[in-house]
Amino acid sequence: MANPGGGAVCNGNLHNHEKQSNGSQSGNCRRNGMTKEAQQNGKPHFYKPIVETFEEAPLYVMVFTYLGYALGTLFGHFRDFLRKWGIEKCNAAVEREEQKDFVPLYLDFENFFKRNIYMRIRDNWNRPICSAPGPRFDVMERVSDDYNWTFRFTGRIIKDVINMGSYNFLGSAGRYDESMRTVKDVLEAYGTGVASTRQEMGTLDKHKELEDLVAKFLNVEAAMVFGMGFATNSMNIPALVGKGCLILSDELNHTSLVLGARLSGATIRIFKHNNIENLEKLLREAVIYGQPRTHRAWKKILILVEGIYSMEGSIVHLPQIVALKNKYKAYLYIDEAHSIGAVGATGRGVVEFFGMDPRDVDVLMGTFTKSFGSSGGYIAGRKDLVDYLRVNSHSSVYATSMSPPISEQIIRSIKVLMGMDGTTQGLQRVQQLAKNTRYFRQRLREMGFIVYGNEESPVVPLLLYMPGKVAAFARHLLQRKIGVVVVGFPATPLAEARARFCVSAAHTREDLDTVLEALDELGDLLQLKYSRHRKSPRPELYNETSCELDD
């Protein structure tokens, strides 16, 4: 790969001493050396040793978490009783008088949880902001007079809050500056709305330019862009598979993938998160036994995975999945929403992260929201796949196409990332993100927090477990002018509430140090340092962080 700036290293195999014999990864990845490579201990070695941890908390933590929820449930029932018998005013939704004898609408656990537990700590979510979501942003201050049933704005603004929650991996989301001049020109020339769908009159030359650029960036034959990232998944999976096909989907897949799979009408089977043995077992069963009653062969088997899972911070084990797919003749669909632009030596996603050939993956999907400061999604792959989608996707027939200034922002970002604007700014940003990620994760581990996920993933979930601590954590951090996203029950398992940090290339070392200091103090105040593998704090950091696991 071209190396314009002196000293900027872009060889993805920097950390692998033992793989020197394989040479550089450019161009010759089709060798499939990953399974034949050095079969020591009977296990195949891969280019990048995967360092992932999902440490379990001590037992007393889980006991207290469940006790806390039990107390919340008791009080929830008590308050429901008071509300039902009219002793207390009911602010939640209830059925009308005439419908009281019908099937009850609000008695299931999710509604109960929302009414009684979520409502008490609701002020930590949906906080409105009033500036661009750069590394620092402004939050509108709001208070509640009736314990979070209603809010009102005081009119004050909390300025310069450090942003650890927005998906801004490469720092492309920010206020207007001179480098965004082309976006302004396109806005002046094309306006804002397209007023049509792709198949009618909504295909602009900007879209063609963008699609060619995306295909070149990802090193595939062709690509197609859509106006909305969620709709890219949910509207295109039904076009690719249908009845009589089998979808093998990861346990923790995003809602858009689940919705697309359900809409398609294919049979869906779930395999445990990142668990290759489970996936192989399901594949073998599918190939041997075929469809449920008739035992005919499945028309297509599609494996749905994500590049980085946003709640766990784990990265998909791509080489093993590709090996399985080749062996059992299945198709692979990767959703790189969080990993495009964020991992890989030059920001080209998980395929580059593992040093593999993009032709190994059948359908590459991603979004432009996270790393490119824009909105929309793409699907890339072989030319006949993309041509088929242009004709048969619901999105191209019915959905309005991407707005021109948005397309120009993506074009500009990709050009910066590829170095086509003549500077090495893109590459520097990717490396800055990698450095920030490693530093942040290492310091959190040293402090003794339990952090899930892969060492190189910029999405950092920090486990909090107890609902009382979740609320206290978010409130304390906002008081110290740091904005984080905390996640609780429906999005994560009941006992594993967490705070999710999104590291950005635009964060300076001082920003990260401020956040880490605040986390240190808060960890002591709230007793959050549950990890039993605490390392001694070292005076300096090493450059390499992937330790060679000999197993």
């Binding site: 207290f64 006790l67 806390g68 929820y69 107390l71 919340g72 009080f75 537990i117 008490r120 700590i121 314990y147 107890m466 609902p467 009382g468 601590k469 609320a471 206290a472 709230l526 007793q527």
Partner: protein, 76 residues
């Protein structure tokens, strides 16, 4: 000075108790109610222990010593 440290320590312990058991997210009247119930149960446990445990231990001691004593007289 020492008294202030002790007070801070107790308020820290109370805060830990509140966030661990979700009292921090309850409304103030619910917190008082729960604290009252918990203190009542705790007081009852302490009273029962104070009144009954010495007597139970003494009875158990006599019971076991009688068995061991009986055993030693038989084996004699």
């Amino acid at each position: 000075m020492d008294f202030r440290r002790v007070k801070e320590y107790f308020s820290w312990i109370y805060y830990q108790y509140q966030i661990i058991s979700c009292c921090a997210v309850l409304e103030p009247w619910e917190q008082s109610m729960f604290n009252t119930i918990l203190l009542t149960i705790f007081a009852m446990v302490v009273y029962t222990a104070y009144v009954f445990i010495p007597i139970h231990i003494r009875l158990a001691w006599e019971f076991f010593s009688k068995i061991c004593g009986l055993h030693s007289t038989i084996s004699n």
